[in-house]
């Protein structure tokens, strides 16, 4: 390793378990992509550090109408792209319209949003329905602003005919602190400092993000061949020596269990008493301890760092006696219940098979026989989406840091349907959900979401289990490591001591 005194020319090595599909912001919607694009592109609005409950100005400042239907964004100051050209409202319009028009993975972020240019510095976004989440959405790196001229020259359009992905996977076209040097989806991404960046030069001149599995990450960061490791499990983090600094926070991912409410899928899991029994049979503390450092029990479906999260006191607790009683009430006769789960997902270092096995063992103690049915995500997603799983173990990561993203866990909505929870299956909860969706002040929203989640915990088919710990290990000489629920870490904020 060739360390030089000047940190600006130093190489920073980050280990990450890749789920990288592209570096094109218009198509990217995976954690690794967020991490990379955050360094390459700038967004109109953004978050500061790890606080995702409050949106701050990014490239632009925001003016929002009271009905949360009109959002006026004005570019602040001068911004230049990596090739030296200045950013204008045209670039903003192009970038946002491109995301919408591509119909790529992130296009849903701007569903129903119309983008219009007001003048060279100002862009107006309008929506049909109130969209209080839009500011938080705009902080997503997928909505990073592209150099429209360069992208258009390389096949960029604002509809499906766009062919700029290839170009954006070799060269970046943004205004962020770094530019893309090389991108290999399977092995590594190399970034170099953007010479035309208008902010402070980033701490490292060259950043290498390598695709490495959790266990190896630990070795690498201990041995010094990696500076930052992003996917350590709790146990791995605990076992790290003093040579590294570990930042542990619960992540924004919520791992939950679903029990199908559709009687034609499963008679027993659609039985409310059985659902209750399962809720009471699970030993949540044990699951947390298995998962290790940083992990917390998920009180409700909304993760703790978001507005509207349920306080710890509202969380489900184990009560084996009640479980036995409810089980008896349900008429469960010892038949085996299938638990489907993706076998190849490891979330923040926690293996789904591990959790599934633990749950199986816990439920067995309560008298419930569970048969595990793992399958690769690719295969299992189908059953999950079609709502045909009897019992499923999944997780939900926020698409944007706003509780409205969690309304999907209600009857007739996306995740609700996956658990066989049809529209009208539970009118009380639907009413609570409608109220939560309406918007309002932060306080109002907070209490409405709490109510909704309390009801969900009591009567819903979902069992929030864990918010796995996000353990970031960094060499002692690296500063600025802050976990962010959207982009994991801001690479540009890292610097050498």
């Amino acid at each position: 390793r060739t360390d030089t005194a000047d940190s600006g020319t130093q190489t920073l090595t980050i280990n990450k378990a890749f789920d990288l599909k592209t570096a094109d912001p218009g198509r990217m919607y995976e954690p690794t992509g967020q991490l990379v694009d955050k360094a390459l592109y700038e967004t109109l609005l953004t978050f500061e550090g790890g606080d995702v409950s409050k949106v701050v100005d990014g490239l632009a400042s925001l003016e929002q109408s009271d009905d949360a239907k009109t959002f006026t964004l004005t570019l602040t100051g001068e911004h230049t792209f990596s090739d030296g050209t200045a950013m204008t409202a045209d670039d903003v319009v192009f970038s946002l319209q491109r995301v919408i028009g591509l119909k790529g993975n992130p296009s849903f972020l701007l569903d129903g949003v119309t983008v219009t240019k007001q003048d060279d510095k100002t862009v107006v976004l309008t929506t049909e329905t109130p969209t209080p989440a839009l500011p938080a959405i705009l902080a997503n790196p997928a909505l990073g602003i592209l150099n429209s001229k360069v992208v258009k020259e390389n096949g960029g359009t604002t509809d499906e005919t766009d062919t700029a992905e290839k170009f954006l996977n070799t060269t970046s076209a943004g205004s962020g602190p770094y530019v893309l040097d090389t991108l290999d989806l399977a092995s590594q991404v190399v970034l170099t400092a953007n010479e035309n960046y208008d902010g402070d030069a980033p701490g490292y001149g060259r950043v290498v993000i390598q695709n490495v599995e959790g266990a190896t990450q630990k070795i690498n960061v201990e041995g010094g061949s990696a500076d930052v490791a992003l996917d350590l499990s709790g146990t791995q983090a605990e076992a790290l020596g003093d040579s590294v600094e570990v930042t542990s926070d619960p992540s924004a991912n919520v791992i939950f269990l679903l029990l199908n409410q559709n009687p034609s899928v499963s008679a027993i899991t659609s039985n409310p008493d059985f659902v209750k029994a399962v809720k009471e049979a699970i030993d949540y503390d044990d699951l947390v301890s298995i998962a290790g450092t940083g992990t917390a029990q998920a009180s409700g479906v909304v993760p703790s760092m978001l507005l509207g999260a349920l306080p710890e006191s509202g969380a489900l607790t184990q009560d084996l006696d009640a479980a036995k009683a409810d089980l008896a009430k349900s008429g469960y006769a010892g038949e085996s219940v299938t638990l489907n789960f993706p076998s190849d997902i490891s979330l923040n270092g926690i293996d789904f098979p591990t959790i599934a096995q633990r749950i199986q063992s816990q439920l067995k103690d309560a008298g419930i026989t569970v048969e595990l049915a793992p399958a690769p995500v690719a295969t299992e997603l189908d059953a999950y989406r079609n709502g045909t799983e009897t019992m499923g173990l999944w997780y939900w990561g926020p698409d944007y840091p706003d509780p409205s993203d969690y309304l999907v866990f209600t009857p007739g909505n996306v995740v609700g349907l996956r658990s066989g929870w049809a529209e009208g299956a539970n009118p009380a909860i639907s009413t609570l959900a409608d109220a939560a969706a309406a918007g309002g002040s932060d306080e109002e929203r907070q209490s409405r979401f709490e109510e909704l989640q309390t009801a969900l915990n009591a009567d819903g088919p979902f069992i929030p289990l864990l918010q796995p710990g996000n353990n970031i290990a960094a060499a002692k000489d690296v500063t600025g490591v802050v976990y962010n629920a959207v982009w994991t870490i801001d690479i540009a904020a890292l610097a050498a001591k």
């Binding site: 919607y29 993975n105 989806l185 997603l381």
Partner: protein, 359 residues
């Protein structure tokens, strides 16, 4: 009164009575190989379509697949809305133009992906095969020469053990010991992160680094090769040692070896010019086979060492139901397997005058 052993003629004259000139034969082999390749694509195609999952679900994010427009768009882009038969023939048609489709996981043309992954795999596979041929031939010859002696038995045990080690386990153990405990070997990947990829000529980092005169890059690339190559080598060495031993034993039994010794030639000459040359054809055959199985074996090894080669690519494609990706890998490995066989065949001609001169 003579006891006839005319039947002896040339016991290994496989090509001795070739009805066709060698070239015709080679051509026929190429043609059948091509048919086989088509067969490989067909099998992959059918198999991947049997998989119950939906590639759309796998390729799109959790949220995006909810949107029917996005899904339809995706299907149209990748031609998944066509009937299977049409899809297959489209694939074949494109194949003829060197187009293997676009991977649904990486969104890159499969050809480009493979072109990038292949050198990585070749680097370890070639390293392993070269190493194991050298070691295997030396050990096998020693074992044959010392047949029945202690060293023969030791080699027998060692090579059988080599064949018995689960590669995936060995890779982990070596990684644990050499990297985790002893810090001798470098971590995963092809290069340490402080080195930049040498200018691409062959795609083999070691070779490219040398060509570019970057000695330290070469050393780093070579040190990364060490463990994966070692793991792959151990298995093949076992196979080759056992085989070379038998092949050499067979040759040692030949009159021409006895004749060479009766001529008073030094042992070195006898081994290299007579014995090994005689055994070269069967040895070549196993080397070809071993190479094939090496290619297969890289899947696990690459997974463990995070080696960005064909194996990793295959695993990624298979677990994401990436149809073009899987078919591309199947095709590539199939073609390589056939290529290796073809090369072996052609080398027979070089090594065996009876084949070369048959007309």
């Amino acid at each position: 009164m003579s006891t006839s052993t005319k039947a002896v003629r040339s016991p290994r004259s496989r090509g001795g009575r070739a009805a066709h000139p060698f070239l015709r034969y080679a051509l026929r082999r190429v043609l059948t190989s091509l048919l086989l390749v088509v067969g490989v694509t067909l099998v992959t195609f059918v198999l991947t379509n049997l998989v119950p999952g939906d590639p759309v679900a796998a390729a799109l994010g959790q949220r995006a697949a909810e949107d029917p427009a996005i899904v339809a768009q995706f299907r149209a882009t990748y031609g998944l809305d066509q009937p299977l038969v049409v899809q297959y023939f489209t694939y074949l048609g494109n194949l003829l133009q060197g187009d293997l489709g676009v991977s649904t996981t990486t969104h890159n043309p499969v050809v480009d992906d493979l072109a990038k992954a292949l050198p990585a795999t070749l680097e370890i596979a070639l390293g392993a095969i070269v190493l194991s041929v050298i070691i295997g031939v030396v050990l096998g010859t020693i074992a044959a020469y010392r047949r029945g002696k202690a060293s023969d038995h030791v080699l027998r045990v060692v090579s059988l053990a080599g064949l018995s080690v689960p590669t995936f386990w060995l890779a982990l153990v070596l990684y644990y010991v050499f990297y985790f405990q002893l810090h001798i070997a470098p971590g995963s990947g092809r290069l340490s992160s402080d080195f930049t990829t040498p200018p691409t000529v062959t795609g083999l980092y070691t070779v490219d680094a040398l060509l570019a005169g970057q000695l330290d890059t070469f050393l780093d690339a070579a040190s990364h090769l060490f463990l994966p190559v070692l793991v792959l080598t151990l298995y093949t060495v076992g196979l080759l040692t056992r085989f070379v031993r038998t092949a050499v034993l067979e040759i040692l039994d030949q009159d021409y070896v006895r004749a060479a010794r009766a001529k008073g030639l030094p042992t070195r000459t006898v081994i290299f010019s007579y014995v090994l040359r005689g055994a070269s054809i069967p040895i070549l055959t196993v080397v070809g086979l071993a190479f094939g199985s090496l290619l297969s074996g890289t899947v696990l090894v690459e997974a463990i060492f995070a080696w960005p080669g064909i194996g990793s690519y295959a695993y990624q494609a298979a677990s994401h139901l990436d149809l073009p990706g899987i078919m591309g890998v199947g095709l590539l490995i199939g073609v390589m397997y056939l290529l290796v066989n073809l090369i072996v065949d052609l080398l027979y001609g070089v090594l065996d005058p009876r084949v070369r001169l048959a007309s």
